[in-house]
Amino acid sequence: MHAPKPSVDASHPAPAPARTGALNLADEARKREVRTSWLLSAPALLVLVTAASGPLLIVLVYSFLAAGDYGGVVWSLSGEGWFKVFLSRDIFDDTVGIADAHLTIFWRSVRLSMLTTLICIALGFPTAWFIATRSRESRNVWLFLITIPFWTNLLIRTFAIMEVIRSEGIVNTVLMTAGVIERPIQMMYTDFAILLGMAYVYLPLMVLPLYAAMERLDFRLIEAAYDLYASRWRVLRRIVVPLVKPGLIAGSILVFIPSLGAYVTPRVLGGGKNMMLGNLIELQFGQGRNWPLGAALSLTLLVIVMVALIFYVRIVQKEAASRE
């Protein structure tokens, strides 16, 4: 503006040059705010560092040490722990080969986790759709019904599945009483049992993000698709699935990650033979007593999970950005 400054109020004195002092006040307030933030967070961070994050660093250190004879470690640098994750050395002639037992377990973990994810999609997608298309009041009830199992003890839910499928369990007893089978079907301690248990336990993790995506769905788009002669199946494939894809991917990762690290479910339902990664890790701290190997296996699991998580965060961010 080029206009001359109006004489706003003739009677008051020239503005005091308080610039630096006042600026410091604002700076000072900001500094105090940041310091308060840190002070308030510090106790929680202290606990988390001592009992969650810090120990992970110790695991990293342990993975590079030599195994003690009866568990524990010997404080000397060694790559043996990491070496044994994928490779094995023949006891007799020291030839190096692939650690078949470990690979089998890795493969089982990945395979079962992927299958679990697929089952959860197959059941979770229609379920989420069902909830999302209810009236507003009943939606909350159905949602609550999905959430309840999620918050109840995982062990108890695994245990409930076990009661259903074990030899003296309900399915077998009913079938035998009805004369369909003569001897109980062996379902416990199989990959099938683990799969069933994990799908059962992690299903809510698939339904919730899918539901969140479907709830936001603009149903006018579906009307438009029908208007343009699409069949129901095509509407599902060409309109609904692409639109809820972020929810689908989020749900898949939320199911996949805990499946991969599952410990309780494979232990209870899979028994000693059908191990998954979690059980293999535990074994290194139990009878096997190879702590460095256990530490290396833990970190391998952690890395896989982190990669999946980064993938997840990317998708969530992209979705958030596209919604703006």
């Binding site: 606990v47 759709w129 062990l155 535990e282 833990s298």
Partner: protein, 268 residues
């Protein structure tokens, strides 16, 4: 013109059937477990009449009693500690202009949600084994510390959500009306945060009460909580006593989570 002839765009073939089947599958095992905890007989498949037998048996089992007490002690301490720490952290990290290190704080707080429990369990086993040897102390402190750590994010989330929804101008108004920062906090911020804090404490309590994996690795000999006791029993023979304990735990969880829902609903 008739209503029935109208085309329902929300319908997908078979979806309702699958959904209802899913709910059935989700609840049938749990409901069965609850029902059979009242079965007079040993079998989980044959109903031999209603009885409190297994509850009585569980109640008189010294190991179960000890485990139950231990579970409650650990969950109480851990949830209280976690809630206090999470409340402070939430106050420190919400409603401030972004500062350097803020993402680090978030990452640390949420870390227990991201790392597989088995990994945390192993890590704590390694660290606490050394500490136990060095100090000679092997009490419940380790369990409480470990539980506090992984309960913090669960307590933090609802508290933070509540705090973010809180109208900043209320505290400004308190300051305008001569309340010192501490009094403004005591009289305005804290009471308004309370539903979030209670919700956070409830979640933390449930999460601690239900934990198996980390407890399994951290506990010293003879420090079973209810879940680890059950896990140990499952390896041997299954007794309907377990059904009874499960049912009790189940009802506690459901009651607390329902209360949590109601509390959250009231806020909205």
């Amino acid at each position: 013109m008739s209503e029935r002839a109208s085309f329902d765009i929300r319908r997908m073939p078979g979806f309702v059937a699958i959904a209802l089947a899913t709910f059935l599958v989700l609840y049938a095992p749990i409901v069965t477990l609850v029902i059979y905890s009242f079965n007079a007989g040993m079998s989980v498949a044959l109903w031999e009449g209603f009885s409190w037998r297994w509850y009585e048996a569980a109640m008189h089992n010294q190991q179960i009693q000890d485990a139950a007490v231990r579970s409650v002690i650990v969950a109480s301490f851990a949830s209280v500690f976690a809630t206090v720490l999470a409340t402070m952290a939430a106050l420190g990290t919400t409603r401030v202009r972004p500062f350097r290190g803020q993402t680090t704080i978030y990452a640390l707080i949420n870390q227990p949600l991201m790392v597989p429990e088995i990994v945390t369990g192993v890590a704590l086993l390694i660290v606490f084994a050394t500490v136990k040897q060095a100090t000679g102390y092997s009490g419940l402190g380790y369990l409480i510390l470990a539980h506090t750590a992984f309960c913090i994010p669960f307590a933090y989330l609802p508290i933070r959500a509540r705090l973010e929804g809180l109208d900043r101008s209320l505290e400004t108004a308190a300051a305008d009306l001569y309340a010192t920062p501490w009094r403004a906090f005591r009289r305005v911020t804290l009471p308004l945060m309370m539903p979030g804090i209670v919700a956070g404490a409830m979640l933390a309590f449930v999460i601690s009460l239900d934990d198996v994996v980390i407890t399994e690795f951290v506990k010293s000999a003879g420090q079973d909580t209810l879940p680890t006791y059950m896990l140990g029993q499952l390896r041997r023979a299954v007794t309907p006593e377990i059904n009874a304990i499960s049912t009790v735990l189940l009802f506690i969880s459901v009651a607390i989570v329902s209360a949590f829902f109601v509390l959250n609903r009231k806020k909205a």
